[in-house]
């Protein structure tokens, strides 16, 4: 359907591209967001000479006009990123004040803007430099258009000033004369302002007094600053020299919003959220400080500050509409969010007479969307700049990797108007969830609500299981915790940390509760490098530990040496595990007399001693179960243990006799009694009957077993006295649950060879359950991963770029049936996990697959599906109630419930 649409558009494209002067084009649309004048349904836009002549709800199409049929598309103005650092502006002049430097000189006017156009971004504001105080004049430029004439909107607008730490301590200036003489001597290098904020403002005052654009021009000051203090100082300075001021980045503008509103200071706000990346804020500041910015736009709007949103870096420019969507998700109205990336920046940059809205006289810069701007899977289908189509969405823009084989029909799952998304048991349109004793007691419809229950009216809301972040450092506060953790580690494999992280963070750290508001309820807390991982719930006053040692993280390199070092590590761990198991088993065995001194070494092995495995049946009760047993024969006396699900599941010590080829053993305890009689049916083969009395039950039936391992030869030290207690090694200790297959291995494998090495060795050689982390190439190893039952954990950077086209790893893995979970790998970016899933949906992942990847799949991979990841009877009551579909940008989180208590409630 969509592809057909694109093909249709391509047919039209040929006509529209050949613009000649005086030619009139009419665009029929489904809807136009004019931004300046509301929304017009089924609008017609008339374009002449690259300008919009008219936009109206209906009416005659002028005679001779070329008609563009966009009647299934929504049209918005070209998006404006009001702070980009295009061109080669990373490099600065040495001068701390360089007023005559112009950003317009550094722009490539012939570069393809396709990547930005793909996000609907048609205009940028570019400023020069970033590491000096006053770096020069900015420029407003389009991302498409014919050469400089078609692209430059303002060759010189605004003087870029940077406050904060960056511009402090510039290099000294050394300018030797062309040829030194007595009249023109060589002077020593001249130091420059500023080393401090005092110096910054002194230098700016000097510049404002000297001839140049700051004193003589009409430029507004474009001041980039981060903290509230700098922002206020900048506003005061602008007032002092009588200049308009615009604040750039201004993450703390929220704190001084009232002042900004009163002084009518515009803000080009950095929401500090970059979809598809690990959290940018994490690198700069501790977790809690950065948690406020996602709702920054909402707070600015409420304070009455005019603001534009800009992408945190050039690479994110194409995601600006999605970033605006994140602001919507955090409370901003859709209308305000759209304005913040169109008309508001145009006004702030003084180009609102040409771009930023759809109204007569404006440049015909239009973005054609497949649906509403903030709907979950809306795409930019085409973009028009100056009346010409400059971008068409193409199939080639998306890599859909599939191994070469017969394609099976893709399942299409429709989720519509859902209420309870159970994840494992479908959707209940209008259902009831009962929570009792911290657990889900009932899911369904048609049961009366108990009168003592506290009722949350969830009509109109959607319930999903609490989201699980499969790999997070939340609470580590950058790497300080881990450093401490390393210091505390006790020997062992290189880099491995033997202490579960849940013991090293503060469980009452307020970040846990703050992050829960995003809908994430459980996280796998993992060290950055290698070692033990814990599962923790972000509940209430104190985070709850779900499983202290929930996984073991290690790193796998590709190639022979990588394979060998993994093998070495695991062999060492397995040996350690086996030694301890043997030791502990031996401890459980009852004391026995020392072996008879007369026993001969050449004696044949006895027929009973050793480990046995088999099945037992009780036909009357329809019981059929497996059992295992271990026996030790001394003379005619038999001791050992017996274990079966049929009789309690725990290994129970038993005693008995072996005479004339007949084995009899029994166990009695607190009124219950189990006994069995078996005969040797052949070497290593016993057959017989059993009965058990476990009041009120009485069971009897047959049993049969075979010896799986004969007793160790006496000289191997089978006796307890000779078995030495193994040495404890903290870093290997964590592998014991792994070999018991209670917890998975999480293997960081960054490329295809590493992925293949990890999957093969972990499964084939050691048969360990495992999840691969960080493998960009995982989609290309889909078949292998599926055959080895490997899981994959995908970070926020799951979307990869290959020659300008994008591969959605999540979507490719889903298509190949490889289980995958999303993770944040961040300190505070756990809160953006739902957005990561939304971003994947935006880029083609099925919404249901996305939901599983943050709920049941991580739970299964962690072997915690009995507690987490679905809305089912008996599961932990971890629930998120949203106002709409979980990954729609217009949905809001209303309630977060962990273990049955409400930890977040939207006001």
């Amino acid at each position: 359907m969509r592809i057909a649409g694109v093909l249709l558009l391509l047919a039209v494209f040929g006509v529209a591209a050949g613009r000649s002067p005086g030619a009139v084009t009419a665009v029929r649309t489904a809807r136009v967001h004019t931004v300046s004048n509301g929304v017009i349904e089924r609008a017609i836009i008339i374009i002449e000479d690259g300008k919009i002549r008219d936009v109206r709800a209906s009416g005659e199409i002028p005679e001779g006009a070329t008609v563009i049929d966009a009647s299934i598309q929504v049209v918005i103005p070209g998006i404006i990123d009001a702070h980009a650092s295009l061109a080669d502006s990373g490099r600065d002049a040495d001068e701390t004040i360089a007023q005559d430097v112009r950003a317009a000189d550094g722009i490539d006017y012939y570069a393809s803007g396709r990547r930005m156009l793909a996000g609907g971004v048609s205009t940028l504001y570019v400023t020069p430099g970033s590491r000096r105080l006053l770096t020069g004049q900015g420029a407003v430029v389009k991302t498409a258009g014919r050469g400089p004439a078609g692209r430059l909107l303002a060759a010189s607008h605004g003087l870029r000033i940077t406050l904060g730490e960056e511009p402090k301590n510039p290099p000294a200036l050394f300018k030797p004369p062309v040829s030194a003489s007595s009249g023109d001597p060589i002077r020593p290098a001249r130091s420059q302002y500023p080393a401090s904020r005092m110096g910054q403002f002194a230098a700016l005052r000097d510049a404002a007094a000297a001839p140049g654009p700051l004193r003589d021009g009409k430029h507004p000051l474009m001041v980039l600053a981060h903290n509230a203090d700098d922002l206020v100082k900048a506003v005061l300075f602008a007032g002092e020299i009588g200049r308009p001021i615009v604040l750039l980045d201004a993450e703390e503008a929220v704190q001084v919003a009232d002042l900004l509103a009163a002084k009518k200071v515009d803000v080009i706000f950095n929401p500090a959220y970059a979809p598809g990346h690990r959290d940018v804020a994490d690198e700069a500041r501790p977790a809690l400080e950065a948690t406020g910015t996602l709702n920054g736009p909402l707070l600015l709007e409420k304070a009455g500050v005019r603001f534009a949103l800009h992408a945190p870096s050039d690479g994110d420019t194409r995601d600006l509409l999605f970033i605006a969507g994140a602001a919507v998700r955090n409370g901003l109205s859709e209308e305000a969010a759209l304005r913040a990336v169109t008309l508001s920046p145009a006004e702030i940059l003084g180009v609102a007479k040409r771009v930023g809205s759809i109204s007569p006289g404006m440049d015909a810069d239009l973005v054609f969307l497949s649906g509403s701007p903030f709907a979950p899977s809306t795409t930019v289908d085409r973009v028009m700049v100056n009346g010409e189509f400059v971008y068409e969405r193409r199939e080639a823009d998306v890599i859909t990797y599939r191994p070469i084989r017969e394609r099976a029909g893709k399942d299409i799952l429709a989720i519509r108007g859902g209420r309870i998304l159970t994840v494992t048991q479908g959707i209940l349109p209008e259902g009831l969830i009962l929570v009792e004793n911290r657990k889900i007691a009932y899911v369904g419809k048609g049961r009366p609500v108990p009168h003592e229950a506290r009722v949350i009216d969830a009509s109109g809301l959607t319930a999903v299981p609490g989201f699980i972040d499969f790999h997070s450092h939340l609470g580590f506060h950058m790497d300080r915790t881990e450093t401490a953790l390393r210091r505390g580690r006790v020997g062992g494999a290189a880099g491995a940390i033997g202490v579960p992280p849940s013991k090293l963070v503060r469980l009452d750290d307020p970040v846990y509760r703050a992050v829960a508001a995003s809908g994430v309820t459980s996280i796998l807390l993992a060290p950055d490098s290698a070692g033990a991982c814990s599962v923790v719930k972000l509940s209430g006053e104190k985070a709850a530990v779900v499983r202290e040692l929930a996984a073991v993280k290690l790193t796998v390199q590709g190639g022979t040496s990588g394979a060998q070092s993994l093998r070495d590590l695991l062999q060492k761990a397995r040996k350690y595990h086996d030694e301890w198991e043997a030791w502990e088993r031996a401890q459980k065995e009852p004391a026995r007399p020392a072996p008879a001194p007369t026993s001969e070494t050449g004696k044949p092995p006895d027929p009973i001693s050793g480990a046995w495995k088999g099945t037992l049946e009780a036909p009357e009760q329809n019981i059929k179960a497996e059992f295992s047993a271990e026996f030790k024969l001394e003379g005619t006396r038999v001791t050992g243990s017996f274990q079966s699900q049929a009789v309690g599941g725990q290994p129970e010590p038993v005693e008995g006799t072996f005479e004339n080829g007949e084995l009899h053993f029994e166990r009695s305890q607190q009124g219950s009694k189990v006994e069995a009689t078996m005969k040797l049916a052949g070497p290593d083969h016993l057959k017989g009957t059993w009965k058990a009395l476990i009041p009120p039950l009485e069971l009897k039936g047959t049993l049969e077993c075979r010896r799986s391992a004969p007793a160790a030869a006496p000289e191997a030290g089978a006796s307890k006295a000779e078995l030495k207690e193994p040495r404890k090694d903290e870093s290997l200790e964590i592998y014991r649950p792994v070999f018991r297959k209670e917890v998975p291995v999480i293997a960081t494998a960054r490329d295809l060879p590493a992925i293949e090495t990890a999957a093969r060795i972990l499964r084939e050689e050691f048969d360990l359950d495992h999840v691969l982390l960080g493998g960009e190439d995982a989609p290309y190893a889909g078949d292998l991963l599926a055959s080895k039952a490997s899981g994959v954990a995908l970070g926020p950077d799951f979307l990869q770029e290959r020659k300008g086209a994008r591969l959605n790893s999540a979507e490719s893995l889903a298509a190949q049936g490889v289980p995958f979970a999303f993770h944040s790998s961040g300190f505070s970016s756990t809160r953006t996990l739902p957005l990561t899933a939304a971003y994947a949906v935006r880029h083609g992942l099925d919404a249901f697959d996305a939901l599983r990847a943050v709920t049941v799949t991580p739970a299964r991979l962690l072997k915690l599906e009995g507690r987490l990841g679905s809305i089912e009877r008996g599961r932990d009551a971890d629930l998120v109630l949203l106002s709409g579909d979980p990954f729609s940008m217009t949905s809001r989180v209303r309630y977060v419930i962990i273990d049955g208590s409400i930890v977040y409630e939207a006001k």
Binding site: R91, D100, D105, D108, A396, G804
Partner: protein, 409 residues
């Protein structure tokens, strides 16, 4: 036996060719050519070029040869005008000064007459070149037009200090924006000093001429043009802006993607020297694939005056004829390609009336070839500059040594 035979042949050849070359120094010379590629007009099959006093006196089919003319028999050869290199910084010790603004230096002081570049240029049929400072210096200095023959720079000189080199490529570690800002500051200063001096001239103060500023003054007064190096297409726009602001004449030296600005260049009728790498690979973001770009096509289509240049970077791009042949491979017509190594560069040097084609009145800079100029198997047999024989393949000892006994057939 074989060796003996070869020796006899070379001796004979030497005799045959030595006789006319001695006589060519004076009196008229008539070249009977199998084929004449005039560049400015039609190609002539079987014609005669008459040279008098270093100039071409006549070119015609069936021209009557004067009684006193020495006859040079090239009836099995092709004659083309001498090739012209419109922009080079080879043939000198170092192409760039370290200081960013040195308008007063001149390649005249740097040209090394015995540099292998000149010898090789002659071997390839290049008879004129403009040697300018390199691309690394903002205001790099002045350039000279020379011929690749002579034992001193004076002897080689055709015209001294005829152009000023300006480069828009920022030095490593500086941004384009800072570079442009610095360049504007230099031009402002020069414009100021020109203004000051003209005011003082009226007062007859006759101040000492500032030799260091003279070249900039000559540029701003329109005496000499600037050759502005634009490493990327976007720099063209800035060069145009500078030339319009400071009102100087300008020729462009382009980078590989300069063709992207061809419309703008054509609109202003600017003359351009194309980058030595005529084709290059670029990622087409529309189609997500690598495509080969050819930098000359758009200029030919827009009927711009353009010239090829060479570099020493690879075997092919070291030779002008190879550049022209590459041009035809990627779609130029033969005439367009040949023009870009003869008349095109002559016009860019402002010497279109004197050089670049075989026309009566022009300098007798002629190249006699064994075959077609765009054929890789063709040899340059003889080169005449202003009527004088300056190169004969039969006497090219270095070539013979390089090719061995079977070479140079």
């Amino acid at each position: 036996m074989n060796i003996g035979g070869n020796m006899i042949w070379s001796a004979l050849l030497g005799l045959l060719l030595a006789t006319p070359s001695a006589a060519l120094q004076d009196g008229p010379v008539a070249i009977k050519a199998g084929r004449i590629i005039t560049v400015s007009g039609e190609e002539i099959d079987g014609g005669v070029i008459l040279v008098r006093e270093g100039k071409i006196a006549a070119v015609q089919k069936g021209l009557e040869i004067p009684w006193d003319a020495k006859v040079l028999d090239a009836s099995k050869r092709t004659v083309i005008p001498g090739l012209i290199e419109a922009h080079t910084f080879r043939g000198v010790d170092r192409a760039n000064e370290r200081m960013p603004s040195v308008p007063f230096v001149s390649s005249f002081d740097s040209i090394n007459p015995v540099d292998p570049y000149f010898e090789d240029a002659l071997r390839q049929g290049i008879t004129t070149m403009l040697v300018l400072p390199g691309n690394d210096t903002m205001i790099g200095g002045q350039g000279c037009v020379v011929r690749p023959t002579g034992t001193t720079t004076e002897a080689m000189l055709v015209a001294r200090d005829v152009a000023l080199k300006i480069s828009l490529r920022p030095r490593p570690g500086t941004s384009r924006m800072a570079h442009l800002a610095a360049l504007r500051r230099e031009l402002d200063e020069a414009a100021e000093s020109v203004k000051e001096r003209s005011e003082k001239k009226d007062a007859k103060a006759s101040p000492e001429q500032d030799v260091k500023r003279e070249p900039m003054a000559r540029l701003l007064k329109g005496v000499i043009p600037a050759f502005v190096y634009c490493p990327t297409a976007s720099d063209v726009h800035k060069a145009v802006e500078l030339a319009e602001t400071y009102k100087f004449r300008m020729k462009l030296v382009l980078g590989p993607d300069g063709w992207k600005a061809a419309d703008e260049i054509a609109k202003r009728k600017l003359e351009v020297v194309l980058a030595p790498e005529l084709t290059y690979w670029e990622t087409d973001e529309e189609k997500h694939e690598e495509v080969r770009r050819f930098g000359a096509g758009p200029f030919a289509k827009a009927k711009c005056c353009f010239a090829f240049q060479t570099d020493g970077a690879s075997y092919g791009t070291s030779y002008l004829w190879f550049q022209a042949a590459t041009g035809t491979k990627y779609g130029l017509t033969r005439a367009e390609a040949l023009r870009a190594i003869t008349l095109g560069p002559a016009e860019i040097l402002g010497m279109g009336a004197r050089l670049g084609s075989i026309q009566p009145g022009k300098d007798a800079n002629l190249v006699i070839l064994t075959g077609d100029p765009l054929d890789g198997q063709t040899w340059v047999d003889m080169v005449l500059i202003e009527g004088k024989t300056v190169y004969e393949r039969s006497k090219d000892e270095r070539l013979k040594r390089a090719l061995g006994k079977d070479g140079a057939r």
